[in-house]
């Protein structure tokens, strides 16, 4: 404490001390501003460097002879290490869609319904059990969910689904669903809890049953938040890597069957980047995939943010 402990002895230059103090305060403010800027810098650098390494796809002739935009969308095969490398996105696209679709169909109903249960029907004691379970599930590292999908889930699901291969898009989708349930649940629950109690009381007083109140009053009032939960879950599902890398079988084949092996955008990067030559067309292609992934999740997240704002305005106006 510089001010408190320094005695104002005779000859003490109060003005100089004050100048020193102001300088110090300003320096500290600038340091803190710099810390805050690190977040902006981080985001900018991510954009800059992921796109920079992907740039040869769009701007370098030599790279374009082997890997180019037209090829990505017209070439039906993904065989980057064959004699004539083929970089077709179609199989990866099909794989991503299948896995994400299965995971959303699995996680969204469970997450939303469980959130409704937690806010509308559950006794405090049941909630005390459910909430820590969600926190536990959210705390399981994705590599452990991938391990579970690979070693355990696959052996359980195959006899039920009669899939031709153990590891397939369906298996990966369920494992991935486990990973996004906490996201969907948490966001939906927050939104439902933000619905004012008076809404429910009015509905109950008019003679509606608790479930009618939940379905016709609470859920519609929180719909923007539910939308945000679904979108945030979607963004996580699209970007999640380790689960799909381990549980999907990783075969880049174009098929509409969810019981075939699949390979997603994220898993492709994880599986291949360690072995590529830096600066090669394959390297640039993987960064291009990363840039696509970044843009996709970025826009989904921005949309989710818009939903959250709408919810806040809606409930503030109520």
């Amino acid at each position: 404490m510089t001010t408190g402990s320094r005695p104002l002895r005779p000859g003490h230059d109060a003005a100089a001390f004050r100048r020193h103090q102001i300088l110090r305060e300003n320096v500290i403010a600038w340091i803190l501003r710099g810390c805050a800027f690190s977040a902006v810098a981080g985001l900018l650098l991510i954009v800059l460097f992921v796109f920079k390494e992907a740039w040869p796809i769009l701007g370098d002739r030599v790279t374009q002879q082997e890997a180019n935009l037209a090829g990505f969308f017209s070439q039906p095969l993904w065989q980057p290490v064959s004699e004539t490398p083929k970089y077709g996105f179609t199989p990866l696209f099909a794989g991503t869609i299948k896995v994400v679709l299965v995971s959303m169909l699995f996680a969204v109903p469970i997450g939303v319904l469980a959130a409704l249960f937690a806010t509308e029907f559950a006794s405090p004691r049941l909630r005390e059990i459910l909430k820590p379970c969600i926190e536990l599930l959210a705390g399981i590292p994705s590599v452990v969910l991938g391990f579970f999908g690979l070693m355990v889930l696959a052996s359980w699901l195959q006899p039920i689904t009669h899939a031709p291969v153990r590891l397939n898009a369906f298996n990966a989708g369920i494992a991935l669903g486990l990973g996004i349930i906490p996201t969907v649940f948490t966001v939906c629950e927050d939104a439902l809890r933000a619905v004012p109690k008076s809404f429910r009381e009015a509905s109950l007083a008019l003679g509606a049953t608790p479930w009618q109140t939940a379905w016709n009053v609470a859920l519609p009032a929180a719909s923007a938040g539910v939308g945000a939960g679904v979108l945030l879950g979607l963004a996580r599902a699209v970007g999640e890597t380790m689960i799909v890398l381990m549980a999907s079988g990783n075969a880049a084949i174009t098929s509409g069957d969810v019981f075939d092996s699949a390979r997603t955008f994220s898993a492709t990067i994880a599986a291949e980047l360690a072995e590529v030559v830096v600066g090669s067309p394959h390297y640039a292609t993987l960064f291009f995939l990363g840039a696509l992934l970044f843009l996709l999740t970025f826009f989904i997240n921005v949309a989710a943010g818009a939903f959250v704002d709408r919810l806040r305005r809606k409930l503030a106006g109520a």
Binding site: I28, A29, L32, I46, L113, Q212, A270, T297
Partner: protein
Amino acid sequence: MTTDALRATLRPLKKSRPFDLAGLSFTALSGFAAFLIVAMVAVILGDVVIHGAGTVTWEFLSAAPKEGMTKGGIFPAIYGTVLLVVLMTVALVPFGVGAAVYLHEYARPDAWFTRAVRFAVANLAGVPSIVYGLFGLGFFIHFIGGSVDRALGLDVVFGQPALMWAALTLALLNLPVVIVTTEEALRTVPREMREASLGLGATRWQMVRHVLLPQAMPGILTGAILSVSRGAGEVAPILFTGAAYYLPFLPHSPTDQFMELGYHVFVLATQSPDIDATKPLLYGTVLVLLLITFLLNITAILLRARLRAQLAGRS
């Protein structure tokens, strides 16, 4: 009308309601969804504990992998994980706390810079972890590391996957976690304390340093612990930035590669030539990883609960 009389008039109304099948099944369905979540968590944890508990012995925790990772222990992976999260925390916490203090105490809420920082924080949290891995490789290793090597005339020292680059990549990944939790903690400090401190003639920084930060310490710790727990479990960002499949020695410099628990799980599960021989080790490793992350998470949850109770008591 007394309450008893009111109740008496209401009772027949309640009884006359027809049996509500739709409502009952809807309630049951949502209850079933909640039950499914609890059951799935129990199944995952139960499976890991049942198969892994027998493997986790002192020898398993303290020995290196042997015989092509079919025997021995996981000590190098534990050691590498600890080094990684310690380095990450050292790099992360000053920036995260500084940013949160700025946002909460210094920034004007409507300034474009404040809005840019908040936008960046919100969106950093949504960037897929594999993209952080790409960024770490492109920026830290090739750009920074490569430039340092060229400037110092070194062969390849900094321009390759290393502990420090992995730690910095994870630090950026966790920056939003620390900023958000710290800001939440700063919000719990009552305004009177700030005003009292400023009123006594403290400068803004003195108020932050001697009043605000000590008060918000549990919340700051929560953020740091949560990010350590996340850092210990994230594998995708370190795949190309420093994690090694197998190392015969322990890392002793920030430019060394390292073994890591999560990555070790991935390696044992997918790269083993003899999965039956590795299976006990794999389950043991998963159990250790889960124990570490859960212990950290529980600590964070308890701290946060205390913090929220404080906040509720004050408002």
